[in-house]
Amino acid sequence: MTDHFTPANLDLAHEIIDRYPVKRSAMIPLLHLAQEQDGWVTEDAMRQIAELVGVTPAEVLGTCSFYEMFKRRPVGRFLINICGTLSCQLMGAGELIHHAERKLGITSGDTTPDGLFTLAVAECQAACTEAPCLQVNYRHRYRVTPEDFDILVDELRSEADRGEGPDPGNPDAGGVPRHGVLSLSRQHIPAERAAGPSSPTSDQGPPAWMPPPDAEEQK
């Protein structure tokens, strides 16, 4: 048995698995959970997910590696994706990328030695009217000039220095959550509304979350 998830996350993992009629369906949510725990998806995490949902590690790797946003190498606390597609290129993304590389002292694709920043050139982020744009941990920044970039980096750095920044446990703090944090509020589905482990093909009744027919009449 692989022992990678923290006890709290393991409980959460079981809760997630219980949401689905077929365990395997929980694979992607669990990959998110693993990335949230470690900032990236480790081999041990994939192994444990395989055990938890009853597939082979190779199948988890197959799914995980298909999705660009699951990182299988350590990335910095902040992943900065600068858009490198047409509109942004026309509006100065090239200069912005060069500037970012000089400012952070790394080439795109790399992580700063302090583990704070990973710089990447990304495809279109659907904000062409706000070019050039970038994302910090998938949170947009619009019309970014080199000066804006410097300010952004300094802000993030001081935020990290102060040990601040939001966490799932502290959703009210401002700033940018660590890379991997998917959402600041957890979804909890009460047991009586969960689909449970029954087979979708054998279950003929209405879904568990659907109110019984007489509930409406009572209202």
Binding site: R47, T56, P57, A58, E59, L61, G62, S65
Partner: protein, 820 residues
């Protein structure tokens, strides 16, 4: 399925392929219908034994289903009434050229050094359907040249065209999805998980179905070019499933075995053991000339055939004169062809005059039971309403039967009930009933009395084998008797492991049973010879393997003949096997390899092995098929029947045949069971699928089920031993194949993790196991497939031998565990 009624004519679907009318089957895929109509549609990813995926697009053809012609992948389109298909139109040709040009963009042109070159579907189709030139001038994609995905299989990702055949096979057919597509887009590649190799028992099949040279097998890599190979069709005798194979040789050496697709048995698949154990033919342990030992302690030295045969014959003569014919015993014979087995049965009963013959080594089941139970075929098993398996884990013992059963249970949703003391490979897919070792019959009776009644309504096939060797086979036989009482319509598929064990039983290599499953006692007059001439045929049934071993240990066996038998490895009582070999007057071993037991023999005669002799073999269903001789036996090794014939000659009798064909002619003439199976039928194309020869009840053979024995009460201070065979163990052929020998795991004590906690030990610690027989020490593994109260240890695995703990005939083996 073969047993389905003939398709009614209104199920036919009329389609037009290239202007010709054809009636396809309802629901049939267009590509399969075209193939049957004689029109080949080029393809890479489509495989008739797997679900279609439409990955490669090579099978695009112009299809008009009433809305005008359009390109459609013929592997994904079921036929429909009135469909008009053009596989040779300009549009189709342009599509095929385009697809091939795209497939070849990244495919390296290293055909001259590629194993697949010469038999490569991509190469062939590029010539037949390709554009002839490429517009791609950029750099091709590069990957590290072959990476091993397992000990047996190498993957060259540059050559891969992403057809999903290997990954689909692993997922759908083998149920071992240890390889998967990873990454995406231009970087898509097949990969294993890091440090988690593709260690499937069936990995070799992916090499065979790979339509390019991306997957290559280590044992065959760079050994030969396809155009240098010579091929003959044969049947695999590694286990009793009897998969059809193509045996290929180069320079008088077997270099490759491929699976041949026959519908009733293997569907084209082979296990890796059957695919690669041809390597053992060239092992340094192979016996290539007769060996004789001077004194008791001297090493065997090479001898001539005349000297060795004279010694064997004089030992036999002396034994018969001094102690009577019953002082001679013949053990083994399941490695032999049917003809070999018949010749040896005839030599033993008709010339020597002993009935002490047994082709099983006390590790099988009652011969009377196996020969009298109503037999089921594999197809009947897989299409039954309920399958019951007793004890045996088919993945470990009969791998391709596992593939068939797995398909039946997983894909066709056949209900299966399994009785096993530990979790098996099929447990996750069926209702698995756990029982204490020794309590199988009780467990079956309990099930039949409660839930099992529902199985009474439909067809029931029972797969009956000897799961654990740590308890007597009587428990399995009692369970069979219970099933026969409760479900009289049930039929049975014997699941014994050794190559031609059913053939040897049907040829009379079992005490009290003449060829054709006739009882010795049924002979009229008593002692009259089955084949006409001999006064020596014994009247009283002789000893079975257990009896022979006990008699030998007591010094009552003057000549013990081992027909490819290795009692030291295979008898589930190592101590008794040792004493039997030591107590026998003269031990004559006839074997392909110098096994542990052959090493102890006084005379060793080299036998021809698989691929080196002609004849027939019988699989577990009773299907008789022809073996193909491909290479000459090494040294002076010769077929077993020839050795029998010469020994008979030296004892003054002519067995009456000069080649294996004449033996089969005699069998079909003399043995009623094979009367409708003459030589010309065995040699006809019909015999490719094998010819079912199952004994009827005219032989007068009776099976008396053992009386029910209550399983012994649980000893709270001991654990019950389960000892089953794994696919890779120290079996002669496996251990002598360099590519396979390393795959056999060191034998370990397997215990439930909570049992480990109770004992205060951890994985890898060493433990002592103490049975009344012996105390052995082995490393321990936690295994949650083993229930508490049970200890499991593989049989005949490298390392400490489980057979040391077992006492032959004991109902259960209780062992105490001592921490060190």
């Amino acid at each position: 399925m073969s047993d389905q009624p003939e398709k009614r004519s209104d199920d036919g679907v009329n389609i037009t392929i290239d202007g010709r009318q054809f009636t396809a089957r309802k629901g049939e895929l267009l590509i399969a219908a075209a193939e049957r109509a004689g029109t080949y549609i080029p393809h890479f990813c489509y495989h008739s034994r797997m679900s279609p995926v439409g990955m490669c697009r090579m099978c695009l053809v112009e299809v008009d289903s009433g809305r005008g012609p359009g390109l459609q992948p013929s592997c994904m389109v079921p036929v429909s009434e009135g469909m008009v298909v053009d596989t040779e139109s300009e549009t189709t040709k342009r599509a095929q050229e385009g697809i091939l040009e795209l497939l070849l963009i990244n495919h390296p042109l290293d055909c001259p050094v590629c194993d697949k070159g010469g038999e490569c579907p991509l190469q062939d189709q590029a010539v037949a359907y390709g554009p002839g030139e490429s517009r791609f001038v950029e750099e091709k994609r590069h990957y590290e040249k072959p990476i091993p995905v397992s000990d047996l299989v190498n993957l060259d990702r540059e050559r891969c065209i992403l057809c999903d055949r290997c990954t689909r096979f692993a997922r759908e057919v083998a149920g071992d999805p240890l390889i998967s597509f990873t990454e995406r887009g231009n970087r898509t590649q097949v990969q294993t998980f890091p440090d988690d190799p593709f260690s499937s028992y069936f990995s070799g099949n992916t090499v065979q179905i790979c339509p390019v040279g991306a997957l290559t097998a280590s044992p065959y890599r760079f050994r030969a070019r396809p155009w240098d190979l010579d091929q003959v069709e044969s049947t695999c005798t590694t286990c009793a499933v009897g998969c059809r194979t193509a045996v290929q040789s180069s320079g008088d050496q077997i270099v490759r075995r491929l699976g041949v697709d026959i519908d009733p048995v293997n569907h084209g698949w082979l296990c890796d053991r059957g695919r690669f154990d041809y390597e053992s033919a060239r092992s340094p342990e192979r016996v290539t000339s007769p060996l004789m030992r001077g004194g008791a302690d001297s090493e065997p030295v090479e001898a001539t055939w005349p000297a060795a045969m004279a010694a064997a014959a004089s030992a036999l003569r002396d034994a018969i004169e001094a102690h009577g014919a019953s002082s001679v015993a013949v053990l083994g014979g399941a490695r032999l062809t049917n003809e070999d087995a018949y010749a040896w049965a005839k030599l033993a009963r008709g010339v020597i005059g002993t009935d002490n013959v047994d082709c099983q080594l006390a590790d099988g089941l009652s011969a009377e039971m196996l020969l009298t139970l109503p037999r089921a075929t594999i197809d009947e098993t897989c299409s039954a309403d309920t399958i019951i398996t007793l004890g045996v884990d088919p993945k470990e013992e009969l791998p391709v039967l596992y593939l068939r059963l797995r398909h039946a249970v997983v894909e066709d949703k056949v209900a299966m009930v399994e009785f096993s003391p530990v979790e098996t490979s099929l447990s996750p897919h069926c209702l698995s009933v756990r029982h204490l070792p020794g309590a199988l019959a009780e467990s079956v009776a309990e099930y039949l009395a409660t839930d099992g009644g529902s199985a009474g309504s439909g067809s029931v096939v029972v797969v009956v084998g000897r799961g654990s060797l740590a308890g007597s086979g009587g428990d399995v036989e009692a369970a069979v008797a219970r099933i026969r009482e409760a479900l009289p319509h049930a039929t049975f598929l014997p699941a014994l492991r050794r190559g031609n064990v059913m053939g040897a039983l049907q040829m009379g290599l079992s005490p009290g049973i003449l060829p054709g499953a006739r009882a010795l006692s049924s002979l009229d007059p008593p002692g009259g010879d089955p084949s006409g001439s001999d006064p020596t045929t014994p009247i009283e049934p002789g000893l079975d393997a257990a009896g022979i071993l006990n008699a030998a240990a007591a010094g009552r066996i003057a000549v013990l003949i081992l027909l490819g038998a290795d009692p030291l490895a295979d008898v589930p009582d190592r101590d008794l096997a040792e004493r039997a070999l030591a107590g026998s007057g003269t031990v004559v071993a006839i074997d392909t390899h110098l096994t542990a037991s052959a090493r102890r023999a006084h005379i060793v005669l080299p036998a021809a092995g698989p691929g080196e002799k002609s004849g027939t073999t019988t699989n577990l269903e009773g299907r008789v098929s022809r073996l193909g001789p491909k290479v000459t036996p090494p040294g002076t090794a010769r077929p077993d029947w020839m050795i029998a014939a010469e020994l008979a000659d030296r004892l003054g009798t002519d067995l009456g045949f000069a080649d294996s064909r004449q033996i089969w002619a005699e069998i079909s003439a003399e043995v009623p069971m094979f009367s409708d199976c003459p030589v010309d039928r065995i040699e006809s194309p019909e015999a490719q699928d094998g010819i079912l020869c199952v004994p009827g009840d005219e032989g007068g053979l009776q099976w008396d089920p053992p009386a029910d024995v209550a399983s012994p009460p649980v000893d709270a201070y001991a654990l019950r031993l389960v000892s089953s065979r794994r696919l890779y163990d120290r079996a002669t052929m496996t251990a002598n194949s360099p590519s396979l020998a390393g795959l056999a795991d060191e034998s370990r004590v397997r215990l439930n993790p909570r049992e480990l906690d109770r004992l205060g030990i951890v994985e890898g610690d060493r433990l002592a196991l103490v049975s009344p027989r012996k105390r052995i020490i082995a490393a321990v593994s936690a295994d949650d497939r083993i229930p508490r109260g049970v200890v499991s240890m593989a049989f005949n695995a490298p390392g400490p031998a489980a057979s040391e703990l077992i006492e032959l005939g004991a109902l259960v083996t209780e062992v105490r565990v001592e921490t060190l």
